[in-house]
Symmetry: C2
Subunit: 163 residues, 2 copies
DNA sequence: TAAGATTGAACGCTCAATCTTG
DNA sequence: CAAGATTGAGCGTTCAATCTTA
């Protein structure tokens, strides 16, 4: 069945509504707290931080734009805008790609590495304080299972990465 | 203890990292899917829809700006910008508040009511398809418990609503 | 002065169009 | 034409400043 044509689909049950609204609220509160903390302590946005983390975890500390976008689940234009802004602040640099001249490499600069290293401990502490401190080990396992199940149906729905 | 001054806080364990990254990815994928579906099927953003739902659930279908912002967990300036844009499209209207002339009421228009009623079934169907269809009843209960626990620590941290 | 609300600037994200190379 | 990447317009969000009334 490709498409459910029923005019009035089942509404959410009360437990489902509760779970749904709380899930959205948790993400909203967390994102606001983490963004504020990151911005005021390090002058980085969460998007800046995410890019720096991915680059710093790469063995050569440099990647193609599209690979970076895939890892972050971003659209390529979002990545491009983000990287331009970060380039203007000296957090990343660029290099032509020898093999394929359509693309370019994004490289972590010394300033970018310093920024992510300075920001990481505070970020982890905030994630702990605002999230994991409230959760038991079993909660963490449940959350991972639930999240992976949802990612599973969404990815099955459309086979593109980051669709 | 007001503040942890330890220079190197505990990093996340592997299960915690997994749960954290999956949690962020689920929200990102869901938000992207739901936003696209809402936009293309109804011409509404998720923010438009959220406002319309809250207004349509109110007995008089009108509220003060600040009450609306509190319910959505939004800053008042965000609400103000959002409501101006929605007003320009005829989805909401305004009325002076008799008792307190500093504020104004936001009222759902007939067009706004029609829009939210048209959009709701598709939205619910998308939420089911991309999220609840992957979850068991116990998953839903776990998710609610986990989310509420996190909301609890974040709200305890700062007593303001939508801090 | 404080509370309710609006405004403008600056930044972030999405979409569609574009440019360059394969 | 397809793939890698950039650009510009338009909308969404935040922050700080402002305006009006209590």
């Amino acid at each position: 069945m490709l498409c459910d044509m029923s005019p009035t689909p089942r509404w959410l049950t009360d437990p489902e509504q509760h779970a749904w609204r709380s899930f959205l609220q948790v993400h909203g509160l967390l994102a606001a707290k983490l963004n504020r903390a990151m911005q005021s302590a390090s002058g980085l946005s969460l998007a800046d931080f995410a890019v720096l983390v991915v680059l710093s975890e790469h063995p050569e500390r440099r990647m193609r734009v599209l690979e970076l976008a895939r890892r972050l689940g971003w659209e390529k234009s979002r990545a491009s805008h983000q990287l331009r802004r970060m380039g203007e602040r000296g957090l990343v640099g660029r290099a032509r790609c020898g093999e394929d001249r359509r693309g370019s490499f994004i490289a972590l600069t010394d300033a970018g590495l310093a920024a992510v290293q300075a920001a990481a401990p505070m970020h982890v502490a905030e994630v702990r304080k605002n999230f994991f401190d409230a959760l038991s080990e079993r909660d963490v396992a449940h959350l991972a299972r639930i999240s992976d199940a949802a990612i599973g149906v969404m990815s099955a729905d459309c086979p593109e990465p980051a669709c």
